[in-house]
Structures are given as C-alpha cells and as structure tokens.
Amino acid sequence: MSEPVLQVRRLNVGFASRGRVTPAVRDLSFSVKAGETLAIVGESGSGKSLTAFALLGLVPPPGVVSGEAIALEGRNLIGLPEKRLREVRGARIAMIFQEPMTALNPVLTIGEQIMEVILEHERVSPRAAKARALELLAQVRIPDAERRFHDYPHRLSGGMRQRVVIAMALACAPAVLVADEPTTALDVTIQAQILDLIDTLKREHGTAVVLITHDLGVVAEHADRVLVLYAGRKVEERAARDLFAAPLHPYTRGLIAARPRLGGRGAVRARLTEIPGTVPGLAAMPDGCAFAPRCPVAEAACTLALPPLVPAGTGSVACLRVGDIHAAEPERLSVVHA
C-alpha cells in the first residue's frame, strides 16, 4: 500500500504546572495509511483522547505537546504556528467528538455550521458551499436534507447530530479523520450505523481513520490495526486480527479476557476497567513497567526498568515476560509465528 499519510514519532504530551511538566503521553509513535483504520485503545486516563487532541494541535493549556514529529502528508505539525495549524485543521485532518449533543453550536443552523468549514478553507461562493453542504447531508444519510439544513441542532437526535458532525469533518475531504469515542454517547443500535457510515465514507474517500475507543467490540469490527495504550505508553500494536487471535501483552490479554463474548455486533460493550486495580496516577508513575502492579505475571525485573518495544509478528509489544508467556501457551505461539 501507499506511504502513510500520518506519521507520529516520539510524541510527548504533558501538563505544565509550577515549572514542571507531568507527562501524560510518552514517546508515542505510530502511523496510518490512506484507507486504513488504526484503533487506539485504552482505559480512561491512558492518554488516548489527549493523543487525539494533540494530532489536531488542540491540547488546551496547561497541556504541552513536544516530540519529534506529527507528520501529516509530509508536513510536521509540531511547532507549526497557530495560523498554519488552523489552515490544516478541518481541511487535511478533521475530528469527530464523543458528545454529539454538545458538539454543535445551539444558536446556528446545522447548514450554517457545515458551510462554515467549507467557506473557512476554500475560496468558493456561499451558493456553492450550500450545494456542497446539502450533498454532504445526503452522504451522511440525513433524510430530507433540504429541510434539515435550516434546522437548529436541538431539533435533531443524538445520532443525527453525530451525522452532522461527520458531515462537517468530511466537508473538505481530509486525509485523516480522528474519531474520539464517536459512539460512546449513542444508543447501541445507532452506534453500528454511525460506525458503518464512517467505514463507508472512509472507503469512498480513501481517508485514514484514527479511532479512539475503549470499546473492544468496536475495535474488532472496524479496525485494521490496534494500538494499546497504557498509562500514556504504547504497550502493544498489531494487526487487529492477530491481536484478537493472540494478544501478547498481559494487559491486552486482560482486556480481551474481560470482554464478554456475546458475539452479536454492537452487543459487545466491555468497559476496560474489569482488570483489578486502576491506572497509576500521572504524578505517581512507577519506575518500571506501569502495568506491573496489576500484572498477574510480573516479576521483580518488571519493576526495575521500562520494558522496550520489540517487534512481534505484525507489530510490536513492550513486555519483558512476553517470551515466557508464549512458552507457557504454545498453542497461541503458533499464531504469532504464522
């Protein structure tokens, strides 16, 4: 496949207070290709939403973003002046939010809000922008688009509002779409529709999608690759099929084991908090592997030094015990080596 449209190298996000920066996302690297969906999975507090905001340069103060690069179509967004960043946002990289109920301005019609993106980034007449907005409303399957165009957000259901947010995000055909828990706030039946819509539009436009979620059911159905985040660090990243077939990191294994196997799509909604214990606080990060205190297979060495990310099958994993786990469960090993 083609070159990745988004390459993140050694991204760090932290919070500055009284001269010190408390890190929240550390040394995070990943890349996404056109037409690919990368899922970033983690518990709340793992830094996944923060990563999403960092991609668009929207981390609010006292948040601080640093690192080597957030390369979008070859252009590094880290250190780009706000003026340039603004031109990229909404045009080349766009975002869908968790809360469709509050993501839209209550005093502007949805038509005005969709047209706004187009007019802000392209030199087109209002008439052309309106035609495009109507087209987008049809694309995101909003019935009776002509009438809905003049409606205010409060007249729309949550699912309909999320469709409007998607229409805004796709208005300028961005290269990358960041979806931060796009279905968490929606009814189960609507969730599947919205995710299918994102999939369809992704295929039609060749958009790269970064899907932030804690819902493994969503990941299994819609992601090509999965990146597992724990306490701000990547602990495992692999092709979705492989990861579900044979999770390597004890944390990933815990996540998958904790997930109820109901099978039916949309019915799978496991919260990632079913592993005993909680993510350590940012200020009280242990020296070694951050998962060690909750890990069933941790040993003394795990608490001494940070485990490095090592290549494993279709991706990489950061765990000192990964070899031993395989030895104990040879039937899973075969999958990894396949």
Partner: protein, 293 residues
C-alpha cells in the same frame, strides 16, 4: 467528558485550613482584606481621634484640604471638620451595611431554603413573592419606606434589609435544589430526620460558600444604598453619613468641589474593598476557579 477533567492530574484535596491561604494568594483577596481592615481601623479609631461630635462647627468654613494642618481634609460650608466626618461616617456605613446585610441574609436564606426544600406550591408561592420584590425598584421601595417611617438608623437599616434579599433567595434556592435530591439529604429523610434539622444541619452548611460571597457583596450594596438615601436627604439627621456629606457639598460644587469629592472617595474605597473581598472569596471557595483562572 471535557478535556479539562480528563487532563487534570488528581489534585491533592486542599485542607480546609488552607482557605485563608488561598484567599491571600489572590490579589483581589489581599487588597480587599487590607482595605477593609483599614476602614475598620478608621471606624474604630474615630471616637479616639475625633471625640467631638462631627456635626459641630469647629473652625472657619471652606478651609481647603492642606490649608490648615489641624484640619487636613478641610472644613465644609458649616465649618465642620471633613476628616472627622469621614472617620465617624465609616462607623455609620459599616454598622448599617452589616446589619442590613444580615437582615437580607436572614430573609433571603430562609426564603430560598424553604422554597428549594419544599418545592411545589410552597416554592411557587415564595418565588412569586420574590419576583414581586424584584419587580418593585428596590431603591425606590427603600426610599418610600424610609420616607414614611422617618429616617433613623433602624428604619434605614430595615428598609435596605427588606428590599435587598431577592437575588440571594434565588441563589440559595438553586443551591438547595441541587442538594435536595442528593444522597446525603435522601438518606437523612429515610432515617426520619425532621425537615428543619435536615435544612439546618445538612443543606445550609453545604450552601455556605455562595452565601459567604453574597454576604460581602450585600454589605457593599447596602453601604451604597445607605449613602444614596443620605444623599437624597434621607439619612439619620443625628449622625454623619458619607452620602449626606456629598449631598451637602453639592450646593457649593462650583467653588468648593472638594467638599463633595472627599466623602465620595471614602464610599468608593469601602465598597471596592467589600467587592474585592467578595471576588477573592469566590475564587478561594470555588475549587474549579483555581484551574480555570
């Protein structure tokens, strides 16, 4: 979920004793406290520094400030010492301000708490009355009361107190409504605690922060109202009042403008002090403000 809550590293819960420290860390809190302390000192020292009645004629009239070292702020058209008037005026302003604010606090808190706690018809009726009091221009209302009852410190205080409570009642009601359905109150009801007991022991202590902030603002506006009444000639004729001094000085504005100017400055300082203190208290008592600011 907003990014702010997601992002905030678990803050160490500040101990309650840290409140004064938090107040003193805000410039508005510090300046407000200092100014207020200064005014209280002025009020307290008035009988020591100026033992004579400030309404007595003590020197030749129209002495400009600085003209005679014995009367640093000059004298008015009746030969009264302006400095003495300002010192004694502080006592009157603070007294009326504090007592009138207490009256408002009492009425406002009781109305708001009862309306919020009982809801339904009680709430509707009490809010109607509150609305009525908000509709009648409060200053005009106070003025009518004082005019009818004859101006004296008690009538002025009462008039200000019973016209200034509606906004506090609304505030307390909103807070009580929030707590009303909370676990603590529901548990107390389940345990069979009496209504009054629940309101006084469980609800009011939790609405204390906004009430304290309002109290300082109420004192400030009571001082403003008192001075306005006195300016119109509705002050207690037996005591000196800053507003009355401005009103009297108005007559000679063309030539001796300092007579109206100086007591006005005193009012500004007093009201400013209390408003600043209110701002500082608001920030210090609101843990969210810490991060938002």
């Amino acid at each position: 979920m907003s990014l702010i809550t997601l992002a905030a590293p678990t803050p160490h819960a500040a101990p309650r004793s840290g409140f004064l420290w938090r107040l003193l860390r805000r410039p508005s809190g510090v300046v407000g406290l200092l100014l207020l302390a200064a005014i209280i000192a002025v009020a307290a020292s008035a009988p020591l520094l100026y033992p004579d009645d400030p309404l007595d004629m003590v020197a030749q009239p129209f002495l400009w400030p600085g003209q005679d070292a014995a009367y640093p702020l000059g004298t008015d058209m009746m030969g009264r010492d302006i400095a003495s008037g300002i010192f004694h005026g502080a006592r009157v302003s603070l007294l009326i301000g504090a007592v009138a604010a207490s009256v408002s606090l009492l009425i406002g808190t009781a109305t708001g708490a009862l309306a919020g706690y009982y809801g339904g018809r009680t709430d509707a009726a009490l809010m109607r009355v509150t609305e009525l009091f908000q509709t009648i221009p409060p200053f005009l209302f106070a003025l009518a009361i004082v005019a009818i009852l004859q101006p004296s410190i008690p009538t002025i205080t009462l008039a200000i107190g019973i016209t200034a409570w509606p906004s506090l009642a609304r505030l307390v009601r909103a807070e009580v409504l929030k707590l009303r359905n909370g676990e603590l109150v529901q548990a107390s009801i389940a345990l069979g605690a009496g209504d009054l007991r629940i309101i006084v022991l469980h609800i009011l202590p939790n609405t204390l922060a906004p009430i304290i902030v309002s109290a300082s603002i109420l004192v400030a506006s009571a001082i403003l109202t008192e001075s306005s009444l006195a300016f119109l000639g509705l002050g207690d004729p037996n005591v000196v009042s800053w507003g009355g001094m401005v009103g009297a000085g108005r007559e000679v504005l063309r030539t001796d403008w300092y007579i109206a100017t100086l007591p006005g400055l005193a009012i500004v300082v007093a009201v400013l002090a209390l408003n600043l203190l209110g701002d500082g208290l608001n920030d210090a008592l609101d843990p969210k403000g810490e991060r938002r600011a």
